[in-house]
Symmetry: C2
Subunit: 365 residues, 2 copies
């Protein structure tokens, strides 16, 4: 008896629901509880206009080659006429594909990361993917919060900067089961994939270069982040091996402006001045050189200056800046390609892509 009444009650609900589906939208909207959105045209409205079912409209948008040419034309015309804007949120929910990739960088104000994002965005946009941007401002803990938010959005992939992550980031990304690319460093045990170069090796190369040039007293100006620290470590290793003096280091948190470089070198020059300085960023190096110009400290004769990243400014300044070139844009492109291949279902063999780096000799060191 109970079961019977229950079924009857629901039968009524069911009928009501069917009716509202069959009715015109305007009429059906009367008993509706929710407020009418500003964009009321739905796939079904287009379908009704063309007298097809909504799945046909869906196919016109997603797999147009599965439709008869005439149908496709008619649907497209109706879409245009009704100014239908497909709701990708609903599509994402139904298909479990968001077509969004998240990227986490320390800050886009530093143009090296901007270049990587550029490469990534260009590659992804070719396949209709869009970029959700997160900045940590060099606060490691921010990364975890960003990753949580991104996973909540069910992004299809994640691109991270560096291989040292906040607690829990690794496991959460693993559990989510989406492709992940780490960049701007290398790791023998990436979360999933990694595209970058060895920061330690880059530091070593810079050290070897300067020592081969005959400079014995070395200094380092850089940041406090993991990658800069690795460059310093490599730099110091080489210095130690080659019997150079202890490397004095100036570490500035989250800095990449010329002014920081100027201030840092001022400090170095005040003490026993080094013969050569390796800067973790070309902007810092530029600031060092501007400061030297102001103090009439000749570069490279009294102080050799070496930069990192090989930004456009390295070629511009006088004397031109010796730097370490790192393929920032390509890093983003390769990261994007790896993601796209994984998202297309292809297996990716090379999960560790070493893009390398190159010491570019110019006039400053």
């Amino acid at each position: 008896m109970l079961a019977l009444t229950w079924i009857v009650a629901n039968e009524v609900a069911l009928v009501k629901r069917r009716v509202s589906l069959v009715r015109q939208r305007a009429i059906a909207s009367v008993p509706r509880t929710r407020s009418t959105a500003a964009q009321p045209v739905r796939m079904e409205d287009v379908a009704r206009a063309v007298r097809v079912s909504s799945i046909t409209v869906s196919r016109a948008l997603n797999t147009p080659d599965k439709l008869a040419p005439a149908t496709l034309r008619a649907v497209r015309a109706a879409i245009e006429r009704l100014r239908y804007v497909p709701n990708l949120t609903a599509g994402s929910l139904a298909s479990n594909r968001s077509h969004i990739v998240a990227v986490v960088v320390p800050t886009i104000a530093n143009s090296i990361f901007a270049e990587t994002i550029n490469g990534l965005a260009q590659t992804l946009s070719q396949q209709g993917y869009q970029l959700l941007l997160g900045q940590t401002q060099y606060q490691v803990e921010e990364e975890a919060a960003l990753v949580d938010a991104f996973l909540g959005r069910r992004v299809d992939g994640v691109v991270l900067t560096g291989v040292a992550h906040a607690r829990g980031v690794r496991s959460r990304l693993h559990r989510a089961g989406i492709p992940v690319v780490e960049t701007w460093d290398l790791s023998a045990r990436p979360i999933d994939m990694v595209v970058g170069f060895s920061n330690r090796a880059a530091g070593q190369a810079a050290g070897r270069y300067l020592i081969a040039k005959g400079y014995q007293s070395l200094a380092f100006i850089g940041g406090t982040d993991d990658r800069s620290a690795k460059r310093l470590a490599g730099f110091r290793e080489v210095a130690r091996e080659c019997g150079a003096k202890e490397v004095s280091a100036v570490l500035l948190p989250a800095s990449s402006s010329p002014a920081d470089g100027s201030a840092a070198v001022a400090g170095l020059l005040a003490k026993k001045a080094p013969r050569a300085v390796f800067c973790s960023n070309d902007m810092l190096a530029a600031g060092v050189m501007f400061e030297c110009a102001r103090r009439q400290v000749d570069v490279p004769d009294r102080l050799a200056v070496m930069g990192f990243a090989d930004l456009p400014i390295a070629l511009g300044i006088e004397p031109s800046l010796t730097s370490v070139q790192v393929h920032a844009t390509e890093m983003g492109q390769r990261a994007g390609e790896l993601l796209l291949r994984r998202l297309a279902g292809d297996a990716v063999r090379e999960r560790i892509v070493d893009l390398g780096f190159a010491v570019v000799e110019r006039a400053s060191a």
Copy 2:
């Protein structure tokens, strides 16, 4: 008869559906057609663990102050224990709020836009909004495609660069009925709101400044985009009014690197060299000054150089660069604040926010 069989058929379907709802998830998943996602914990799983309904879990996440403290604690514990990651896509669909704001810039490789995005992102993230990034690469038509895609995602707001837009952009945004902020320029008739400064007035100010300094022969180096063109227009107006010679202009598409500045000034110096040059971007100005240094053209005695945007490098280079300061970060922050206020339902009175600019006198002009 037909109606009867129809109801019977649907009754069966209905009963099946109820059953699967009541059952344990694992059992219910057997007749399921869709593949089980990598992240199978749903709100309902959490609710079942705490023996509450799923709306209570929803409230724990969205309006925690509406729950009894004990319930809230229990729900939060279960969320933690089950590692539940809320599906924001589903939430967006149901609530018609995506908590995503889209931003369109020509390119983030130009650090002035990166600063604006930084300010915007910081303001928005305080309220849990995230940024979807689109770059036009200075291709005006790209803007329309990006806006379409963003509207499809039902972003809650849009931030655009400039006030000149691709065909259809204005009307589409209007129709979507979401808050829109234009930046980096001003307009008497914004799409919705605008935060920026008058590029024409900035060009005029630069012209007046240089003329007041006694320079009569002026040149301009800049881009082909709308905003750069407006600066040039203002610059020329003033020159004409003041009886200065015709301003020669070098326009480079989508450029902002020192190398472009160097090349441009090389061209100017080869002809009848101007006495002062106004660059639409500090990076271009820096390139101009580097080239002057290489050619031993004294700045400002033989060529005065004025930049635009007042980037960190303006203070760094020698001689320091006279420039026009424009509050890039604040522009992003204010844009974010306006959006947030509108998204909170507050009316916004000042739909046109003129942040102004300031000529900063330094050594180069």
